[in-house]
């Protein structure tokens, strides 16, 4: 299982990460910020990490 580290303090709820995630790993909380919903489905493609404009997501620690 991939280790997904989220820095919610820097998140601005733009929705790019959960919009682009091909496996539905990420989701939004009630403020629109990113949360990890289904970590087991992560295939470590790093699309979220590469496309997060706010440096909030680290895959693999």
């Amino acid at each position: 299982m991939a280790k997904i580290v989220i820095n919610q303090k820097w998140c601005k709820a733009c929705g790019i990460c959960y919009g682009l995630c091909p496996k539905g790993v990420l989701d939004k909380d009630d403020t629109g910020k990113v949360v990890v919903k289904n970590p087991d489905a992560c295939i470590m493609c790093r699309i979220c990490e590469e496309h997060c404009p706010d440096y909030c997501i680290k895959i693999g620690g």
């Binding site: 303090k9 733009c14 929705g15 919009g19 590469e50 496309h51 404009p53 706010d54 680290k58 895959i59």
Partner: protein, 273 residues
């Protein structure tokens, strides 16, 4: 990877000021990835920027940085490079900063072929000042100063700097982050004037006015409207028309300005002996 480039960020200045969904953070990340992977000396790296949303990037990058006046980043960078040619000099500029008020500096820096790596964050709009159209706003698109659609034509900025004499030109988008990183790497490796157009997204000042949807929808738009430059040569022209070509657009060898300048100094010093 983010853990490799965190040391190149000024963590105490984060989170950055860019709007939710702004692509500038992604372009800055591609720059840091490229700098990190080429292994250039970060203590000998200078990043110069002008004014605008894009130019705020120098505040967050942990190198020697200069945040200069509007459009003049290349003039300051030319001074830095000439004083200390051993430095790796980068210029971060926007489409307004670099192609409008700084347009003359851009073409003349390209003409000189001075070893500076320019990354132009192209979000098609003046975002910071409230969404005025820039020379890179496409024809027909809306802006606060173009309420009936922009009737100007946009520059093809990569062709412009090619005509001016740049020796490396590449284009990436904030969706094609790997291509963008590769292009910036190519710019670092090129000894001469290198230009990378980073097609960014501005969901607030540009996207909203042009009904382009949310940040992820603008990302999808970039994905659907881009063609790799290698594939474009094999496709029929109607499939390439109006698309964003991504990849390495141009490369040539030409004498570099600071090298020629040093040679001139050496020639005269020899004469004085």
């Amino acid at each position: 990877m983010l853990k490799d480039i965190e040391k190149l960020l000024r963590q105490d200045k984060m989170p950055h000021i860019w709007c939710p969904g702004c692509g500038n953070g992604i372009v800055m990340k591609a720059m840091l990835e490229a700098i990190n992977s080429t292994g250039i000396d970060t203590k000998k790296t200078v990043v110069v920027s002008g004014i605008g949303c894009s130019s705020r990037a120098t505040g967050y990058m942990n190198f020697d940085t200069l945040h200069t006046t509007h459009g003049r980043a290349l003039a300051f960078a030319t001074g830095v490079k000439l004083a200390k040619p051993e430095l790796n000099v980068f210029v971060v500029t926007g489409d307004g900063d670099g192609s409008a008020i700084g347009g003359n500096h851009l073409i003349h820096a390209a003409r000189r072929n001075i070893d500076i790596n320019v990354v132009m964050f192209n979000n098609n709009i003046y975002g910071m000042t409230g969404g005025q159209y820039s020379p890179l706003t496409p024809h027909g698109k809306f802006a606060t100063t173009a309420p009936y659609g922009n009737f100007d034509r946009a520059f093809n900025i990569c062709d412009l700097v090619k005509g001016a004499g740049a020796t490396f030109i590449g284009r990436g988008t904030v969706f094609h982050t790997k291509v963008l990183t590769e292009m910036i790497k190519g710019a670092i490796e090129n000894k001469g004037f290198s230009f990378v157009e980073a097609v960014s997204i501005c969901p607030i000042s540009y996207g909203r006015r042009n009904k382009m949807g949310t940040a992820p929808q603008m990302m999808e738009w970039l994905k659907e409207n881009s063609v790799p430059v290698k594939a474009a040569s094999k496709l029929p022209p109607e499939k390439v028309a109006g698309k964003i070509l991504v990849g390495e657009l141009y490369k040539e060898e030409a004498p570099e300005f600071t090298q020629k300048y040093d040679e001139l100094i050496a020639r005269f010093q020899k004469g004085a002996e």
